[in-house]
Symmetry: C2
DNA sequence: TTGACATATTCCGATATGGGAATATAATTC
DNA sequence: GAATTATATTCCCATATCGGAATATGTCAA
């Protein structure tokens, strides 16, 4: 048996750095394929291929707008990773402290907005 | 170019389900190779190979004890993934709420222990 | 219809994989 | 030293990869 397909689950899809870059870019909102390709300094077909993988595992959503395809982040798809990784960081009290700090920051920011 | 090596970074190392299983088992504390192999229902060499990968990316630590090698979890190694994934879940207010709830649970549990 | 533009798909090649099997290395016991 | 046990390494193979290049599909405008 070889390595599992990149489309088999979110963990494999996200193992590729370029795909993480794409997700990072999509934090800023909807983006077209060419737009993403330019930002990544990658040929258009490569961008399309990566987006296909991300779509298959449910990390992005596509909207058709004329001849363009606008991709959006679907961060709910990251839940398996989030749950898995926090099940580890929960173990250490350090993490509790970091989390306390983190939540305080959030509250402050929330109040300010 | 082919896919990146599993030892290239933590994301790739953790993309393999068997290796996530190993990390899960190590939550319970130190374990020998044969012990892990039995729990995973895998031949010993496969266990050794996976452990090698996990060691190379800094997710486990080995201690020599006679002819045994006892492996321990090193969850600090998961920080890159933790940081990356939370940078996304932070975006949604839903996550804030879940985190609020989560922290309350923690406080209760802390008090109880 | 024709041409221009945006995106997706297919074929290729070099490469890394993960499991199996066999073997090597190392420590313990007799 | 020889046998036993625990672990690591090597070789093999089927498979999936990612990027490049070429091509196909789809949309718009004149």
């Amino acid at each position: 048996m070889a390595r599992a397909a990149t489309t088999s689950d979110v963990f494999n899809a996200v193992a590729e750095p370029r795909r993480r870059q794409i997700l990072n870019l999509l934090k800023g909102g909807e983006r077209s394929v060419n737009d993403l390709a330019r930002s990544l300094r990658v040929r258009q077909p490569q961008a399309s291929k990566h987006l296909r993988v991300l779509k298959e595992v449910g990390l992005v959503h596509v909207r058709e707008s004329g001849q363009q395809r606008l991709y959006t982040l679907q961060d709910e798809g990251l839940k398996p990773i989030h749950d898995w990784v926090t099940s580890f960081t929960q173990l250490r009290s350090e993490s509790f402290d970091r989390l306390d700090q983190y939540l305080q920051d959030l509250k402050v920011r929330k109040r300010g907005s």
